[in-house]
């Protein structure tokens, strides 16, 4: 049994994304043809949500993410308010996909997508080394032969 946790860099990556999203929403509010007081309320709500995500939700969410590779299946647990546990038997896994955005490349992080027939499970950004290790473990000869 091998367990992977998300690195601290992932938290910073998501904080930057949240900040960019908040800035974008505030910018949209400025361009909307609405009265100033409503715009101010909207901006305050966005700032409040951003602060909540930055200081409380994102650190908790990143801490809650656990990826456990067992001999026959992979288990992904995550969630702060709503806790989700996904159990995916290796025999049903079709392919794995790693995604790197320009921002995650700066932090040397990789997002992993596990694709089974008609559904996919997304693993938030792991460090590149961990992502590679996870994929090689899933695609290892032993697991492949067992599932043939």
């Amino acid at each position: 049994m091998k367990t992977y946790a998300l690195p601290k860099k992932t938290l910073w990556l998501w904080r930057i994304r949240a900040a960019l999203a908040a800035l974008l929403l505030i910018a949209i509010c400025f361009f909307l043809p609405i009265p100033f007081d409503i715009m101010a309320i909207l901006c305050c709500v966005i700032l409040f949500l951003f602060c909540g995500a930055y200081f409380w939700y994102l650190p908790k969410f990143i801490c809650s993410c656990r990826i456990t590779v067992l001999k026959d299946s992979i288990i992904i647990k995550r969630g702060v308010i709503i806790e989700n546990t996904h159990i995916l038997p290796f025999s049903r896994l079709i392919h794995t996909l790693t995604v790197q955005t320009p921002l995650s490349k700066l932090f040397s992080l990789n997002m992993v997508l596990l694709k089974a027939a008609r559904f996919r499970i997304f693993v938030p950004e792991l460090s590149s080394a961990d992502a590679q290790s996870l994929i090689s473990e899933i695609n290892s000869e032993e697991i492949y032969e067992k599932n043939l």
Partner: protein, 481 residues
């Protein structure tokens, strides 16, 4: 033994079918105009040229098509410029579906669909036209198995299924484009005429509610009738024959469809009940076969309608290898849990009432219409509460070498049987209140093109974890937790 099959000449028309509205109908119209008015349009020559080339390409593609059956490999060759050859191991074929419409009956042809686990959803992997005799021979060679038993389902059972599974929405989806096209072809405003007639008829009914209610009710009833008729004609003449491993389903009136598949290729079996079926205590059995059908659903009806005892007997007869034994998990039998099931129906009920009172006070002129809408919404909420109560009483999860799950689905119910190895994903969700009550919600998705899934709510978390750990051999994970 090597067998080679050629396509039926009607396949040429299948190739040129995509150009029907943009090329063929304008060309026919232009030719007719020339014959009647002696008037030539400027683009007729171009149209004739395009039509000839499309026909030529279609003929070449028809001539190039070959189906070769050699040992345990089926080879499908198609294409003229881009030649495609597909080699499929016979054991990998999920199902063979043959369809005969009235044209096929006249020309002794059959539309064949070969499906595998691969390919895209809602689209058969290989579709072609064969001679009727060739298709029978191919079916025999692919799924050679002696027929052990045959069953024929009466028209009444098919009608019950059609009545219970039809909906006004389906009727509109099927009926509106047909009416629209007929109107366009005849050059008359058919929709307008139909709507005027409906308004005229509905105005003759005098009741408490405003006339718009009558009109809408009549439209909904008409759409439902269309949907019923469509479903009834699709499933009438329902026959089932099965051999040692093969299962063949035949149905249809104008379009006769025959589907053959091996029982071992079945991903999962569903015993379903719609709201109407629940009221008359009937069930229907469907199977999900890999890559099956190019219609809206990838499942095949095996038993159109039967009582609970009869359907369970039929299930045990057709799919004995899917029966599950062992401990069954149910939602916790506590008042607090029962209240959780009824929480959302109660919230929706109160919201509907509150909204109704508000709108009645705000728009007093529309009181009668608002009252009608409130009655409709409250009925829907009550149906939802009825479904939630079913989930509380009969929701179940059983994991062994096979899996059995039972819960509600929208307003109906669903029981799903599948081999444990076919389970693609298990998702355990816990809301904050679930954590304090020690319960969870489990969603199991079957790994198939249809990805049938079922959710059982408010199971005991400790017991569920134990069962899942035992079934999937992941005890060490839950021990560490």
């Amino acid at each position: 033994m090597k067998r080679i099959y050629k396509a039926h000449p009607l396949m040429i028309f299948s190739f040129i079918k995509p150009f029907l509205f943009v090329l063929i109908i304008p060309l026919i119209t232009a030719v007719l105009r020339y014959l009647t008015d002696r008037r030539l349009t400027n683009i007729l020559a171009l149209e004739i040229l395009c039509f000839s080339s499309v026909l030529l390409i279609g003929t070449a593609r028809f001539l190039a098509f070959r189906l070769i059956l050699e040992d345990d490999i089926l080879r499908i060759k198609s294409g003229v410029i881009f030649v495609r050859t597909s080699d499929i191991r016979i054991s990998r074929i999920s199902s063979l579906q043959t369809e005969r419409n009235p044209f096929d009956l006249i020309f002794c042809s059959v539309t064949c669909r070969i499906n595998t686990e691969a390919g895209s959803l809602k689209k058969s992997d290989f579709k072609f036209k064969l001679n009727h005799r060739d298709s029978d021979e191919l079916s025999e060679l692919l799924f050679s198995d002696k027929t052990v038993s045959r069953a024929r389902f009466s028209a009444i059972r098919v009608a019950i299924m059609a009545a219970a599974t039809s909906s006004a929405a389906t009727g509109m989806i099927v009926g509106v484009p047909v009416i629209n096209r007929i109107g366009k072809l005849l050059g008359i405003g058919l929709e307008r005429m139909l709507l005027d007639e409906i308004t005229n008829v509905s105005s003759k009914f005098q009741n408490y509610f405003p006339p718009i209610v009558n009109t809408v009710t009549l439209i909904v009833l008409l759409a439902y009738a269309i949907s019923f008729l469509y479903s009834f004609l699709k499933h009438i003449n329902f026959k089932l024959s099965f051999g040692e491993d093969r299962l063949t389903v035949r149905s249809g009136f104008f379009v006769r469809v025959k589907t053959a598949f091996m029982r071992s290729q079945v991903n999962n079996v569903k015993i379903e009940q719609t709201l109407i079926m629940r009221l008359i205590r009937r069930y229907s059995m469907k199977v999900s076969v890999g890559g099956f059908d190019d219609a809206k659903s990838v499942s095949q009806v095996v038993v159109p309608s039967a009582k609970r005892k009869a359907i369970l007997e039929e299930f045990a007869e057709y799919f004995p290898f899917l029966e599950t034994k062992g401990r069954s998990l149910h939602p916790d039998r506590r008042t607090a849990i029962k209240n959780r099931f009824l929480l959302w129906p109660a919230v929706y009920f109160l919201l509907t009432l509150a909204a109704s009172v508000y709108f009645c006070l705000r728009f007093p002129d529309f009181n009668r219409l608002i009252q009608f809408l409130t009655i409709v919404l409250l009925t829907v909420v009550l149906c939802y509460a009825f479904a939630c109560l079913y989930e509380y009483k009969y929701g179940s999860l059983k994991l062994n070498e096979n899996a059995f799950m039972q819960s509600n689905r929208f307003f109906g119910t669903r029981a799903l049987y599948c081999p444990l190895k076919n389970i693609g994903q298990v998702k355990i969700t816990r809301f904050p209140l679930d954590r304090t009550q020690g319960i969870n919600r489990v969603r199991i998705t079957v790994c198939s093109e249809n990805a049938d899934s079922i959710r059982v709510r408010f199971l005991n978390h400790r017991q569920t974890s134990e069962e899942i750990a035992k079934a999937f051999g992941i005890e060490e994970y839950f021990k560490c937790e």
